[in-house]
């Protein structure tokens, strides 16, 4: 089946490609040309293991180009249920909060961003990283007050990076990866919610991220010690496997798939970020 894109998007890409090819010709002249094709199955070098997880703002930027969602409706701060003694869940929640910050930036909601900035500091205290995070947290609050959205985005990225680097220095790479997973999960959940509300194949294509899901599955499988075997971590692991089964090999991500991805990511977030909704009880109450 040939996949077609909406006319306006096709026109936009075509225009950009023409401009790019002209400027590309000008810029590339006078330097060695890149090969048109390389053999990835027999790469004669070193494959870099490190995976850089895109921040939610990268996906949000595309979603904005495809029609601005009501970002304000996507903000939903955590319920405060975090088990303070479980550092894995704290790390996931920290990432989730940073993801929440990116949603609030899209909504240009200074008050919510400042609230998130304070929550980030509180959580970093519980993780023993307050000294490293405090300057970022203060900058987030200040930039939100100034309505300097780009600076807020930069600071959120820096905050996550500082926390991850500090954790890695403390030889806590597992926790560092969980921060990324928390942010990715919160971002994916809000994206699936918006796409479900106004479905298009273009938007659904944003969820084609099997490489990242596979990376997070590996991260959880490699976790050592009891923290990787708690019911919450097992549930998140199962959730990732379910996400992978939907996304991997899918030529097109359907509306039904998006609904499933939304529900699965929500249930995964309910393991550490939100209160669990008892669907049976709420049905009975209604």
């Amino acid at each position: 089946m040939i996949k077609t894109f909406p006319h306006d998007l096709n026109q936009l890409f075509a225009g950009i490609l023409v401009m790019a090819s002209v400027s590309g010709f000008m810029l590339a002249s006078g330097q060695d040309e890149a090969p048109a094709k390389i053999d990835l199955t027999n790469f004669p070098g070193e494959i870099v293991e490190k995976v850089v997880v895109p921040i939610p703002a990268e996906i949000f930027a595309v979603l904005d180009k495809l029609g601005e969602p009501n970002w304000g409706s996507g903000i939903e701060l955590p319920s405060g249920k975090v088990a303070a003694n479980d550092r894995s869940l704290l790390a996931l929640t920290f990432g989730g909060l940073v993801g929440e910050g990116f949603i609030a930036v899209q909504a240009k909601d200074a008050e919510e961003i400042q609230k998130i900035g304070r929550e980030v500091l509180k959580l970093s205290n519980a993780l023993g990283l307050a000294v490293a995070v405090r300057p970022h947290s203060l900058s987030i609050i200040e930039a939100a007050g100034d309505k300097d959205w780009k600076r807020v985005r930069d600071e959120l990225d820096s905050t996550q990076q500082t926390v991850r680097v500090t954790m890695e220095k403390l030889r806590d790479e597992e926790l560092s990866n969980l921060v990324s997973l928390g942010g990715w999960l919160r971002g994916t959940n809000v994206v699936t919610t918006f796409i479900s509300e106004s479905f298009s194949e273009d938007k659904a294509e944003l969820l084609n991220q099997p490489g990242l899901i596979s990376h997070f599955r590996e991260v959880l499988e490699m976790m050592e010690g009891p923290s990787g075997k708690t019911p919450a971590m097992r549930a998140i692991s199962v959730g990732l496997a379910r996400l992978e089964s939907i996304v991997s090999g899918a030529e097109i991500i359907s509306e039904e798939d998006v609904g499933q991805l939304r529900d699965i990511t929500r249930s995964m977030l309910e393991e550490f970020y939100y209160e669990k909704i008892d669907l049976e009880a709420s049905k009975a109450a209604n």
Partner: protein, 172 residues
């Protein structure tokens, strides 16, 4: 101006740029000079609205040995990848390919110790960024512009068969 002086000037400015791109906050991490070079290459694009990510790739590699970095890109965004090396006399090249190994480079530049490549992904998927750092110690030893430049004295150590590399990216 000698190449030696240019190298020092560039390193100082790259360090300052790294500080600016770090948002003016306190830099806790060890300053990675190769990443600083990549950030220096990114500077003009920040003014064009590209958001440069804090998370990067870096390490050491044998000269001439290609490196392959996997990364998720989203159709609808535009990306620049910038590679850098701080090794005196070394050059770096960066290119980008899709999952079939086809080049998806739209434009690029190469200025010795840093280079860049731009792409507009045709689909949301994993892409592959190839980085190659070239360095010929014999050629560098004969280069009159590098005479008197002692990497060990500059804190980067004597050439032991490896050179540093860094890769950063931005989107808009």
């Amino acid at each position: 101006m000698t190449r030696y002086f240019k190298t020092i000037t560039r390193r100082v400015s790259a360090f300052l740029i790294a500080l600016i791109l770090a948002g003016g906050g306190i830099v806790y991490a060890f300053v990675n000079e190769a990443i600083s070079m990549a950030f220096e290459a990114a500077t003009p694009y920040v003014e064009q609205g590209f958001e440069v990510r804090e998370d990067t790739w870096s390490g050491e590699v044998e000269p001439g040995k290609p490196l392959l970095v996997r990364h998720q890109l989203f159709r609808g965004n535009e990306y620049w990848f910038w590679a850098g090396t701080s090794w005196p006399g070394a050059t770096v090249e960066v290119d980008i390919f899709d999952s079939e190994g086809q080049s998806v480079k739209l434009e690029g530049f190469s200025k010795g110790s840093y280079s860049g490549v731009r792409t507009l992904p045709g689909k949301t998927a994993t892409y592959f960024v190839r980085v190659i750092v070239e360095f010929d110690p014999e050629k560098a030893a004969k280069d009159p512009e590098l005479q008197g430049f002692n990497p060990a004295a500059d804190g980067v150590g004597e050439f032991t068969g490896m050179v540093d590399w860094g890769l950063a990216y931005g989107y808009r």
